[in-house]
């Protein structure tokens, strides 16, 4: 059995300049760890330039550090949720291996997923933290591509990089390289235990509907035999005037009859006016009941609390908590968005960001979620 040690530090730096914020974050991480970290995971405000952030880190870190990260609408750091920050996790790992992966461009999610992990060969990682750009790739397909290489039960967590809500451009960093499309990932090898949960807190606000025509799994053409966009707008009623921004508040859920909690949630990431269609951030299975979902502030916070309880029920003392929470929740919570992350235990290092879609295992198989609060409790080292 290989002996392992882990030191973890987290930091959030708020600064007008992304370069200075990243540089100070690097200094702070090294200060806390006593040396340069082996692995750094960073989530930075989409207001910053990705080049500036990367350059800020590399003024301090040696080239041996593995750096992976992406842009966010809001970040989670040691003091809770905040905006306009560089929030980073630094780890000194002994007995572990880490590798940054990236693929730029492309529109075929499945192929992108396979290509992303191709440099790893057949050696299956013990954990993959995946950050796929959902504006250019179907995240469900990226995930399926990775699962086709390593098996359905490969542990994958993560979230879609975000911008400030314009749904226009997200950015990513993988070591020295930066990009604004495709996907990046951090592959970790070593004894890692994961306990993850995803909960939304959203409940149905529409009568049961069925998807009667779809294309490529995430383009919904018809709902209950009517053009999907028209059917969706009819349900929104007076709030249809707030399209397209309002779509993040009213995602689509697959709900099995007799249950209140949706089994799968999909945000409407775009509309096709010509075809009267809805474009979702991920696939919807062809079976199951479809509902439009909605939530209030209390529901959203209750969903976060439920996710935390579920994750910690299987792992009471994690070394690290990673959080991926959907931008829609930030919109619903408004100025009270910090309340959601306030449910997390204060004595465990945590890092996270508000995403364009989340990735978390359900019953051992990672699924692509949306509008959820996804929590990954992680323990490094061999189980006692």
């Amino acid at each position: 059995m290989t002996s392992t040690t882990t030191r973890i530090a987290t930091v959030s730096i708020v600064h007008e300049d992304g370069h200075e914020a990243a540089k100070e974050a690097a200094i702070e991480l090294m200060d806390q760890l006593g040396r340069a970290p082996d692995v750094v995971l960073v989530f930075y405000s989409a207001e910053y330039s990705e080049e500036a952030v990367a350059a800020g880190f590399w003024t301090e870190f040696p080239r041996t550090t593995t750096l992976v990260g992406c842009s966010a609408v809001a970040e989670l750091g040691p003091d809770g949720a905040l905006t306009h920050s560089v929030s980073a996790l630094g780890m000194c790992l002994s007995g572990f291996r880490a590798r940054a992966l990236s693929i730029e461009g492309g529109s075929d999610g499945y192929a992108a997923g396979r290509a992303l992990v191709a440099p790893l060969g057949e050696k299956r990682p013990d954990l993959i933290i995946l950050l796929p750009d959902v504006l250019t790739l179907n995240a469900t397909q990226v995930l399926r591509g990775i699962q086709s290489v390593f098996g359905a039960d490969v542990k994958v967590i993560g979230g879609g990089p975000a911008d400030m809500g314009a749904l226009a451009k997200t950015t990513m960093i993988a070591n020295q390289a930066t990009q604004s499309a495709g996907a990046v990932a951090l592959a970790l090898y070593g004894p890692i235990t994961l306990s993850a949960a995803a909960r939304s807190g959203y409940t149905p606000v529409s009568t049961p509907l069925s998807m009667t025509r779809a294309e490529r799994g995430n383009v919904v053409l018809e709902i209950d035999g009517k053009p999907a966009l028209s059917a969706y707008l009819d349900i929104l009623g007076p709030r249809r005037d707030q399209m397209p921004g309002v779509t993040v508040e009213y995602p689509i859920g697959i709900v099995h009859s007799g249950t209140a909690e949706p089994d799968l949630v999909r945000a409407v990431f775009g509309i096709d006016k010509e075809r009267n269609a809805l474009i979702l951030g991920g696939d919807i299975p062809s079976t199951g009941e479809l509902r439009i979902l909605g939530a209030g502030r209390a529901d959203v916070v209750a969903g976060a609390r439920s996710a935390l309880e579920t994750a910690l029920a299987a792992m009471q003392h994690p070394d690290l908590i990673l959080v991926f929470s959907c931008i829609s929740r930030r919109v619903i919570l408004g100025p009270r968005y910090k309340e959601e992350c306030a449910v997390l235990p204060a004595n465990v290092p945590r890092l996270g960001f508000y995403t364009f879609g989340e990735l978390s295992p359900v019953a051992g198989v990672t699924q692509h979620h949306e509008s959820t609060f996804t929590i990954a409790a992680i323990r490094f080292g061999n189980a006692a």
């Binding site: 959030s12 708020v14 600064h15 100070e24 200094i27 702070e28 905040l82 408004g334 100025p335």
Partner: protein, 252 residues
């Protein structure tokens, strides 16, 4: 690595940048004041203090920036909330104004309807020249009877009627107040030189009159409207001449 210029021996003039100074001290791995046999414990202590101070300063600055950012964020939220409140107030004002207008229109319509109902509930029918009939329906209240009296007196003057028939067929209940009001109507009719007649009293109404001990005075009463009108007709044609009877041939 040794610094070209030792910041401990030749400190910079002006303000001390703690962060830069601490960084420089940390990078100098061959400083004779801190390493080797010539290391000075006082310098070591001071350097450590400088580094601690620089760290605390960095944390404080970050905290200040964060608080400033939070404050700016909250100010933006307040501005947005104010804008939302203003919009809501405007919507509420417009909505209240529209509701007031609707309400006023409804009140006017209701008043018109009420007038129409009152007019319909107190009809005055001239069955032939000289004879008016007032069919009374429902509950007799003061407002209704007052209005009926006013209309009746106007009609009496216009039509120059000699006989007024108050038909109670549509009245299911009566009390002392109603009787008093009816007597007042009858009195007004008499004052204008006409004869009031009462007819169509239902058995239960008659029972109420008796049970309550109500006095109908000299008001002439007959059983049905048909009977009353027949007698009026006969009286007009002069076929009935009975000194004990009044002009309409009915028993007083």
């Amino acid at each position: 690595m040794r610094c070209e210029v030792c910041c401990l021996e030749k400190p910079d003039d002006g303000e001390v940048d703690f962060t830069a100074l601490a960084r420089k001290l940390g990078e100098c791995t061959e400083c004779p004041h801190r390493h080797g046999e010539s290391a000075n414990p006082v310098v070591l202590l001071q350097v450590e203090r400088i580094q601690q101070a620089a760290k605390r300063l960095r944390h404080k600055k970050n905290k200040i920036r964060r608080l400033e950012h939070d404050l700016a964020e909250q100010m933006r939220e307040i501005e947005q909330a104010d804008a939302r409140v203003a919009k809501l107030e405007q919507t509420q004002r417009a909505s209240t104004q529209a509701a007031d207008e609707r309400l006023r229109a409804q009140v006017v319509r209701l008043e018109q309807q009420h007038e129409a109902i009152l007019a319909l509930s107190t009809p005055i029918i001239q069955v032939w020249e000289g004879v008016l009939v007032l069919p009374l329906i429902g509950v007799l209240d003061e407002a209704r009877l007052t209005r009926m009296t006013e209309n009746l007196l106007v009609a009496l003057q216009e039509k120059q009627a000699q006989t007024v028939v108050l038909d109670l067929t549509g009245i299911s209940e009566i009390d002392d107040t109603s009787v008093e009001l009816l007597l007042r109507v009858a009195k007004a009719v008499r004052l204008l030189g006409s004869v009031p007649l009462l007819c169509g009293m239902r058995p239960n109404v008659a029972r109420m009159v008796v049970n309550l001990g109500l006095n109908l005075g000299e008001l002439a009463v007959s059983r049905t409207l048909q009977q009353t009108l027949t007698q009026c007709m006969m009286s007009e044609s002069g076929t009935t001449r009975n000194p004990k009877r009044n002009r309409s041939g009915l028993r007083a």
